[in-house]
Symmetry: C2
Subunit: 412 residues, 2 copies
């Protein structure tokens, strides 16, 4: 009996593995949506519910699913699609108009967390290299969480929202520079300035190029797109450009989501009023829960056995929140206290990039297992803290009913 | 320089691996859609173009991508969503009405290919066990290909289409029985009748249960679904049910796509006229190309070095086509020659199930590497042959403009 059963499963699902994969998909999707529903009923942002669902089904609590290559890939596709969708709602001119402000916000929001994280770890008696890694891990904002909350609230067109999106692009380029310096230091060698300058130049060149000529190029070939015979040509073209620019961004060294955001922004004028944005929304709706739950699944609270580490995690989390609020807030202060706070809170979430930096440090033995756990707490904690604060801070902004992402979602 | 670069990529894309994954996704999606466009312009079915794209980018020609766990998983999700979508367009009553006919079509369409495949291999001088495996691999119709062609043409409501869908469900249950017999024979043991009866009973029970009470249950809870607060509640509920029944089907031993089809059919009445079917279409549009290209990518023509194997592959391919056309066609003959031919041709495509059966045989050393290659040729070849024939045979059927899947696709 036991000999046949696996074979039947093998044949049925394609492989025994497929049964497990389907189980993972089902658990992640359904848990995310159950908690999202609960949070909506409690008038809390669904995003926080979906991340919490990941904590619950993951290694920390029920251990039903563990993050693996597949969940990480689905998560990556999910957040790429989300940023593409946010780009579709964002005109390049909207971002250019806030460019100077976003630059300052991005800069201060990178410098403060890095210095504070480094100094805190040094004061805590850790090695210089570990302190540098923790500082670096505290730098990169994970804009997906904020974008999802603002999109669901229909306030992506608020000025603070645009500054956050612009600053997220700059934050990413700056984070790339910090990372390349840190990596070469940790590698034991001297800092390779040529390499860093080349990478930075490429990253800036790519971003500026697509921002400046992307929309024009897309508008120019739009008549050809609408003459395509292939099914749902506009969606197919959009997704191709999204995957293509995400790929280029990833090869250059910028986050793939920045490429996806640029691809969306380049098409925002061409697709206005067509069926394509709602179609892209539907695709995102299916894949985004895997991104959100996968964040929560990264956490494994069982690694915390000493009170000192728990204390460090709490302190780092508080510092991570405050340094972004103060740093980014300072950059936006000339716009008034309220907008400064909106921008600062919008930049709080860290996510996969911070985790990956800590993983690199772990791999180089520059970061201890416990410190890696502390960074995880920081990443997951900031993504859980930001959504309710954002919901509160943006609740009086005028809602853009026509263009809001996920139009069926009532938040408020 | 070389030390830093991978780290930057690592941080940027989440991991160096992610760059590779994005490349795979981009190449598969764009190649599929370029060939689909070309085939549409040549007035050929896009489906065949997308499978051919997989042959071209795969190991046989350019070797840009290779099938792996990730592409297999995306393929599985893609075809699950397709069958869910087809289910959404199919009322349970439509299938019940043709049930008796579908049963006969399914039965004859399993018996003929099995006997012919077995006899041919015996005549070719192969071992009895290898002959049984090849026969079994020729049994299971891969209904996804046909469903996609008929959906794109807007003829899913034709009687022949419904018979094909019903017969595909029966074909799958019968295929399961054949496989369990073959597996226990190949395992060296006696045939375990208890096990086979249990599995068969479960499979039939699940299918009949969902077919009979699924729609009623969904209609009953529909008011609750429309009161959900979570974003895009109808789509979220639909996808949850789809993943859930696919999972149950897979655990019972039926193909996951059968569960997805039943989930779609159960909801077909409840969602009629809502936004949900077009949303499900958009999700499918993104993921289905991975299923179609992944079929073509299975092929590696470089394993064919002897003329005898090439000849065997051609003969098996011809027999695989003829036995389904004749077997299934005979079952549908009382409806007239034209419908019999439509049904027979619609059942031609074999796919992943045949390949998996051959893989089991390969693993048990019951099937040689060359014979495995022959089965691959049979599977990919039948999926390429059926679409143009179907387009020809269904071109005069009245198109259901309102409900056609992929409404923007002009075929014919």
């Amino acid at each position: 009996m036991l000999q046949i059963k696996p074979m039947l499963l093998l044949a049925a699902g394609g492989s025994n593995q497929h049964g497990k994969i389907l189980l993972t998909l089902f658990v992640m999707f359904v848990a995310a949506k159950l908690l999202a529903e609960l949070f909506e009923r409690l008038r809390q942002p669904a995003v926080a519910g979906e991340i919490l669902a990941g904590v619950i089904i993951g290694p920390s609590v029920l251990n039903l699913v563990q993050p693996n290559e597949l969940t990480n890939t689905l998560a990556e596709i999910g957040v790429i699609l989300l940023l593409f969708l946010v780009g579709l709602e964002t005109k390049p001119a909207d971002i250019f108009r806030v460019g100077g402000r976003a630059l300052l916000v991005g800069l201060l929001g990178v410098i403060l967390p890095f210095i504070a994280g480094w100094a805190l770890m040094k004061l805590w008696g850790r090695s210089g290299i570990e302190a540098i890694f923790v500082g670096a891990a505290m730098v990169a904002t994970s804009v997906g969480i904020t974008a999802r909350v603002l999109g669901q609230m229909g306030v992506l067109n608020a000025e603070a929202s645009r500054i956050i999106l612009g600053a997220a692009v700059i934050d990413d380029v700056l984070g790339l520079i910090v990372l390349s310096v840190v990596s070469s230091l940790a590698g034991g060698g001297a800092v390779n300035y040529t390499e860093i300058l080349t990478t930075t130049g490429l990253a800036i060149g790519f971003t500026v190029l697509i921002a400046v000529v992307g929309a024009k190029a897309v508008n120019k070939i739009q008549p050809q797109v609408s003459r395509l015979r292939v099914g749902q040509a506009q969606l197919v073209f959009g997704l191709s450009l999204c995957l293509g620019l995400a790929l280029v961004a990833s090869y250059i060294g910028v986050a793939a989501i920045i490429g996806a955001f640029m691809a969306g922004m380049a098409q925002s004028e061409a697709v206005e009023g067509t069926d394509m944005p709602p179609q892209a929304e539907a695709v995102t709706e299916f894949l985004l829960p895997f991104f959100l739950t996968n964040i929560g699944m990264q956490l494994n609270v069982q690694i915390f056995q000493s009170k000192e580490v728990v204390l460090l995690a709490i302190v780092i989390l508080v510092v991570a929140v405050l340094t972004k609020v103060i740093g980014c807030g300072l950059g936006a202060l000339p716009l008034g206290a309220k907008q400064a706070l909106q921008v600062g809170v919008g930049m709080i979430p860290r996510g996969e990039v911070g985790i990956v930096i800590a993983q690199i440090g772990l791999g180089l033995a520059a970061v201890s297992n416990e410190t890696y756990g502390v960074v995880l707490i920081m990443a997951v904690g900031t993504t859980l803290i930001a959504p309710p604060l954002l919901a509160q801070l943006f609740k009086d902004e005028p809602k853009d009913e026509h263009k809001r992402i996920y139009p069926l979602t009532p938040i408020s």
